[in-house]
Amino acid sequence: MKKITLDARELEHPKPLAMAINILKNLEDADYLYMIHRKNPVPLIDLAQEHHFQVLSREDAEGTWHILITKNHSVDLKEYLFV
């Protein structure tokens, strides 16, 4: 799986959402988006789920959110999570 990283921790709202949606539009089956954010981006997760993506969202001990999104439902996103 090819990882596409988006570190949105220092981006002002709504740039993280706009950039993530642009990545999702062009995401291939063998790709996954790995987004790092200071908040859990619920609208993005909602939108991705409504478009039938597989989504995983976890908060680490420092309060940073790790969001993984892929089209591919046969992979276990937990294996790609670095928390």
Partner: protein
Amino acid sequence: MFSQKGLSLDQAPPISVVFRFFLQGASFGILGGVLLALYQNEIFDPASKGALVLTHVFTLGIMLSVMLAALFQMLPVIAGVKLTSPAKKANWVQYPLIAGILSLLLAFHFGKIAWLYLLASLLLGGSLLFISFEMIKKLLQVPNHTSSSKGITAALFSLAILVIAALYLTATLGGYSEGIHYVQIKTAHYSFGLFGWIAVLIISISFQVIEMFYVTPPYPNFANRYLSNGILFLLAAASILSFFLPDIWMICHLILALLLSIYAIITLKRLSKRKRPVSDATVWFWRLGLGSLIISMLCFALGLFVQTAWIHALAYLFFGAFALSIVFAMFYKIIPFLTWFHLSSQGYFTAPMMHEVIHPKTAKKHFWIHCSMMTAFIMSLIVPQLIVLASLLTVLSFGWMGYQIIHAHLLYVKTQKEGHKFSMNA
């Protein structure tokens, strides 16, 4: 839009609800500018009908309209509150609200026409108590509150209380009540309106959006936890005690002026610690608004000890500058975002980007119009003729705002008609 609580796309209200409340605010702003040309410097005399009319054009026509737009949009987002049938509820509020505001303005202008006060009371009381209790009911059911959702609840309680106080006042003005407690209730009415409703709602929303929009350090815990409810408690205590201790409002207003000044300084400090200090008109609107709040509270506190008309006028003018600046700051964030987000979530590949909905330079131009308008207002205390310029700039400022809403709406409709949809579906 922001929260960890959860925005579901199907919980968000139709974009038209937000657009039309903002457009209502802009339209009343234009009306305010026209009425200013009519009443001119009379508005600086608090006992005049011009002051009464213009104050309610500002508080009801402009502020309440845009604050309802913000609440319809943000309650699902900030608090996870789902308002069932938001478009229908918006209709139940908006039409009586417009008719009620116009009735009230006519009642103030023409004086003792009892049925106009009765009509205004029924329309405004009915619609505002309905929507505030509806929103409070939903907010009280939220299992885990944030500082923002707690603050919004406090602001809505203030709205309900100030409306009930207003019903007593209009009953007195219309000759339906003797108004034995008119003075105490009037003080409670405007105190809940300015501090409990307008200021607390702005404070509550800022707890969420300052950190999110501008990547600043979080607010200190004491502000987050206690400020909104503290203000509500102070207002409630002063309202009750004022029946026995008439001077209690002086102490209450002094504490409130101090608290709001501290809030403004804390927020300005946060904005100065932005991680990515990009120049943006909305930041300047926030800075202008918060600076105006500090000057307003200073004049307000001074006015408690010095009975000078221009100090009172400055306190209210700068409070207006505070509230309107924050409204415009939020407006230039909300309208482009919602237009882009609604279209993107519907799958339109050709959804206009946010800077195409409202260009940052357009917002910057509005900032200078707004600054000129406020300067003209303040200078008209020294050079009375400048009130005509203030009137023209008020029409220009709200006309500018109205044009942006119509432009965004047309762009939205055009994209829906002609835009190409992409498929992100897995």
